[in-house]
């Protein structure tokens, strides 16, 4: 388990001192996180790192998960897609299933926190249990263009919360409650992001039969059309005409995504017999992802839509030059030409990759800027600080708060 003091060499003593000052102000408050699962998914990943650190700061933090059967999670998956703007047929029966399971959780779950921190739509109806305590709804989804049927249904619950939290400004909605902007974060000491010895990186490359004899361009992401892996291949092919390079497309499989196998097949077909294209279906292994990112010369994230896109933060933290689409939370992480290059098309992506490969000093400078940008804005220490400020904001309505 990571110790809070281990972050001092990365962010500096005063940042940790600030966290301790804030934690003191929360003495006596019990924070209760509630989400849909304690294992798997981005929310569980961040809470599993954050809850122990908050406890170490002596903020009394608990974490519970609701229960839901197969039908319930099928419905919430539909909600999830609809909130992302995908067209979904949602029936009254779906809403009934959602409400029935929610009622069981309302009856069963022990709500004991002074501050109840509910993550995503699955547990949203627990707000019916609100008493004199404070409630926060944390939305991790891109709701910039939500299906109105689902949004209106959820809004009935959201408006009873004290505050809501979104990851990007474009996700905010007109709501009668306070809404805050808090970006997600990466943990610099996790297996996915910590420094690795060169031997580890080399052994991962050997394992996947990748030679370091020509520049490596990499995209790490699920085989999902929204991540545009085929577009990445097209961009690589354009670059390859001028610069001898290789491409890694690597990602895990998603058992709950029937499309992923189909997309993987399409990607393999598009790659043809090019020995410089490495299409890797990875097991869940953060060290492998870390090593592939560190071995790369340019990292690409050519998503068509993106909730936040933390793979960008992971790459920038490793001081890599990044070419990424101007969508979702990516422009918060990359300021064009300062901390990476943003693109809007396949042609734009290939041009940006060429710029980096032919100008290594420029690439290095932007990578270094990117690392500092992540250090200042997207590490878990900033995330913990903002969550503690969020908790304190529940007791202070003014714009300038003296603590």
């Amino acid at each position: 388990m990571t110790n809070i003091e281990e972050y001092i060499p990365i962010v500096g003593q005063p940042i940790i001192d600030d966290l301790k000052l804030l934690a003191e102000k929360l003495k006596g408050k019990v924070i209760q996180h509630i989400n849909s699962t304690v294992v798997g998914g981005g929310v569980a990943e961040i809470l599993s790192r954050m809850v122990p650190l908050l406890r170490e700061l002596e903020v009394d933090t608990r974490w519970d998960a609701i229960r839901g059967g197969e039908h319930f999670f099928e419905v919430t998956k539909k909600f999830h897609n609809a909130l992302h703007g995908r067209s979904e047929e949602i029936t009254q029966r779906d809403f009934d299933i959602f409400l029935e399971t929610s009622q069981k959780n309302i009856d069963a779950l022990d709500i004991h926190g002074d501050i109840i921190f509910v993550h995503d739509p699955q547990p949203i109806a627990l707000i019916k249990k609100k008493a004199s305590n404070k409630w926060i709804w944390r939305c991790h989804i891109d709701v910039s263009n939500p299906n109105q049927q689902v949004w209106k249904f959820l809004k009935n619950f959201i408006t009873s919360y004290d505050s809501a939290v979104f990851s990007a400004p474009s996700f905010s909605q007109r709501l009668p409650i306070r809404q805050f902007l808090i970006s997600p974060s990466i943990d610099p000491l996790s297996d996915k992001n910590r420094e690795l010895p060169q031997e580890t990186i080399d052994s991962v490359l050997r394992k996947y039969n990748i030679k370091k004899d020509k520049p490596i361009i990499t995209q790490i992401s699920r085989f999902d059309r929204l991540k545009d892996p085929v577009g990445v291949i097209e961009a690589y092919k354009q670059v390859k005409k001028y610069i001898d390079c290789q491409l890694i497309l690597a990602g895990g499989s998603a058992a709950d995504d029937p499309e992923s196998a189909q997309v993987l097949e399409e990607v393999k077909t598009r790659s043809g017999h090019d020995k410089d294209m490495h299409i890797l279906l990875l097991p869940q292994d953060d060290i492998v992802v870390n090593a592939l990112q560190r071995a790369s010369d340019v990292i690409v994230q050519k998503s068509l839509k993106e909730g936040f896109g933390l793979t960008v933060a992971e790459a920038l933290w490793k001081a890599k030059p990044v070419v990424a689409s101007n969508v979702g939370g990516i422009p918060l992480q990359i300021k064009h030409k300062y901390s990476g290059l943003l693109c809007h098309s396949i042609d734009g992506a290939s041009f940006a990759i060429k710029q980096f490969l032919t100008n290594p000093e420029y690439a290095e400078k932007l990578g270094q800027n990117g690392r500092e940008h992540i250090r200042n804005n997207f590490l878990i220490t900033r995330h913990i600080r903002e969550y503690m400020l969020l908790f304190l904001s529940l007791y202070h309505k003014e714009d300038v708060v003296y603590l």
Binding site: G12, S170, L175, Q179, F180, S339, H373, L389, D399, V400
Partner: protein, 224 residues
């Protein structure tokens, strides 16, 4: 020997941590930007004119304000962008006056450039209005003389430097920055105080500002 003499009033370092509060308000063109700038709170204007200082402090010594950035990059109105970016923020003692200047600059431009009203931001490129919520709290760092002061300035967070230089002057409407005020009134060193207050902090990165303040104070300590 003012650097080593203990003063009556020590300098307590504060820090300022902030949260961004979303308003749900957005603008797609210059007219909407103007009308919304007129109605939002001062905390909102403050956010969009100071956010870059903390988020991009290592990148650019001349942090553009969000209004200038959006007008140039999204609407393609470079001339207005330049006018907004070059507003001399340090000249304004209150956020209200700063807002008035921003409004006047946009209105003046609109008068002579009617066609800009026809320009709209693309989907996803709208201007989103955000408020800055400040939390001000005392740190455990206290200086009793100039030597202790400079040693703390070397190690304190940039949030603390930001608070004492920018926020206390403009948002809390004090006449000068806290460092200059203490050095003059408690240490009695008007020369160093003036040197720091004459700096235009908006043309420095926060790390540059830290280095410059250290240099001014250490020079004074050497000269004593």
């Amino acid at each position: 020997m003012s650097g080593l003499i203990k003063v009556i009033e020590p300098f307590r370092f504060y820090t300022r941590l902030h949260l961004s509060e979303l308003t749900g308000l957005r603008a797609s063109n210059l007219s909407q930007l103007l009308s919304t700038v007129k109605q939002v709170s001062g905390s909102c204007v403050y956010h969009h004119t100071h956010r870059f200082l903390q988020q991009h402090q290592y990148l650019s010594p001349e942090p553009p304000n969000d209004f200038a950035y959006w007008v140039s990059k999204v609407l393609g109105e470079d001339e207005l962008g330049e006018r907004l970016a070059s507003i001399d923020t340090v000249q304004f003692s209150t956020v209200r006056k700063l807002r008035d200047k921003i409004i006047a600059t946009i209105e003046d431009y609109l008068k002579n450039n009617m066609s800009v009203k026809l320009k709209f931001a693309g989907e996803g490129e709208e201007f989103h209005f955000i408020k800055s919520i400040s939390f001000i709290l005392p740190t455990n760092y206290i200086a009793y003389n100039l030597r202790e002061f400079v040693d703390i300035v070397k190690n304190i967070t940039i949030d603390s430097i930001y608070f004492h230089i920018f926020e206390s002057r403009l948002r809390l409407e004090k006449k000068t920055n806290d460092f200059s005020n203490w050095i003059e009134t408690s240490i009695g060193d008007k020369e160093s105080s003036d040197k720091i207050s004459r700096l235009d902090p908006y043309t420095h990165t926060l790390e540059d500002l830290r280095k410059t303040i250290i240099k001014i104070v250490e020079q004074k300590l050497r000269d004593q």
